[in-house]
Assembly symmetry: C2
Homo-oligomer: 173 residues x 2
């Protein structure tokens, strides 16, 4: 992160990262599949947290209520490190390759949520749609939280965004 923020993603070589970390480039590649993956190291555990929250929702919760539980977990997971999230997002936004990687992480997350919903008994078109909607809300809320100057909580913005989507879909005849 230090190097990516200082001089940008492309201008940073793996050798430099390894040196800063007191390692060899070869060792770097034993921990991260490629230069991009460093920025997404936490995404696996984030995904696990969301899926766990979704599956831990009450049995009688609707699909979107279960998704809302997952979003709460996301807020808890990310809520503390706003400054880190800001830097990270700035780096990713400045580079096309990183945006690609982020998109596929989001797609993976969506698939995992859909699978979790199916395990809860939600059938297929609904499971996928609810999962995709959840990811859309996550992205929108996260973007606002990172951008906004006001110190609102991520969880609050998540809930607000969910409400907005609800209103929008309800209003579409």
């Amino acid at each position: 992160m230090e190097l990516y923020v200082e001089r940008g993603f492309e201008q940073t070589t793996v050798a430099e990262i390894a040196e800063r970390a007191g390692l060899t480039a070869r060792t770097f590649f034993r921990y991260f599949a490629d230069k991009r993956e460093v920025l997404f190291a936490g995404s696996a555990s984030l995904q696990e947290a969301l899926v766990a929250a979704l599956e831990g929702a009450p049995d009688d919760a609707s699909p979107m209520e279960a998704v809302a539980a997952a979003l709460d977990a996301a807020a808890a997971f990310l809520g503390e490190g706003r400054e880190l999230s800001r830097q990270r997002q700035a780096v990713i936004g400045a580079n096309a390759e990183l945006r690609e990687r982020e998109l596929i992480k989001m797609a993976t997350l969506s698939a995992a949520l859909a699978a979790g919903l199916r395990r809860r008994g939600v059938t297929d078109p609904d499971a996928s749609l609810a999962a995709e909607a959840g990811v859309v809300i996550f992205r929108v809320a996260f973007e606002r939280w990172v951008t906004d100057s006001r110190a609102r909580e991520l969880s609050e913005i998540m809930r607000e965004s969910l409400g907005q989507l609800r209103a929008l879909t309800a209003a579409s005849k």
Copy 2:
């Protein structure tokens, strides 16, 4: 395409592609930004066709009706080359880097459609949502068309998928 189908994307070198085309690797990179871009060469013109159709829709058409016009254009654009689309999709599906590239192309398409809708006077949350919904329908219908053994028309599957999404959103209270 020949080489990617024969031996897969990763096992094909740019030098081989260039040789097959009677060129140098250096020249290849003058036409395509990278090895992946070859498979997405047509995506710019596809996007232009969709946006043109969206903007050419009647003034009194609703946002989703305009999106439907764009989907018709997509069907017209791709409808003839089913076998090519099949091969292409098989290659892309077999490789993570190519899936990433495809995701960012879809995101770009969604942004272009949203911009087109805004030019039609649709305001922001609706424009983005309608555009994203359009891309979802495109993906789902295209996937079915490529996978299905039956010889149904792409345009027909597009319209059917749009109807299903409409029904789903209408049913969600």
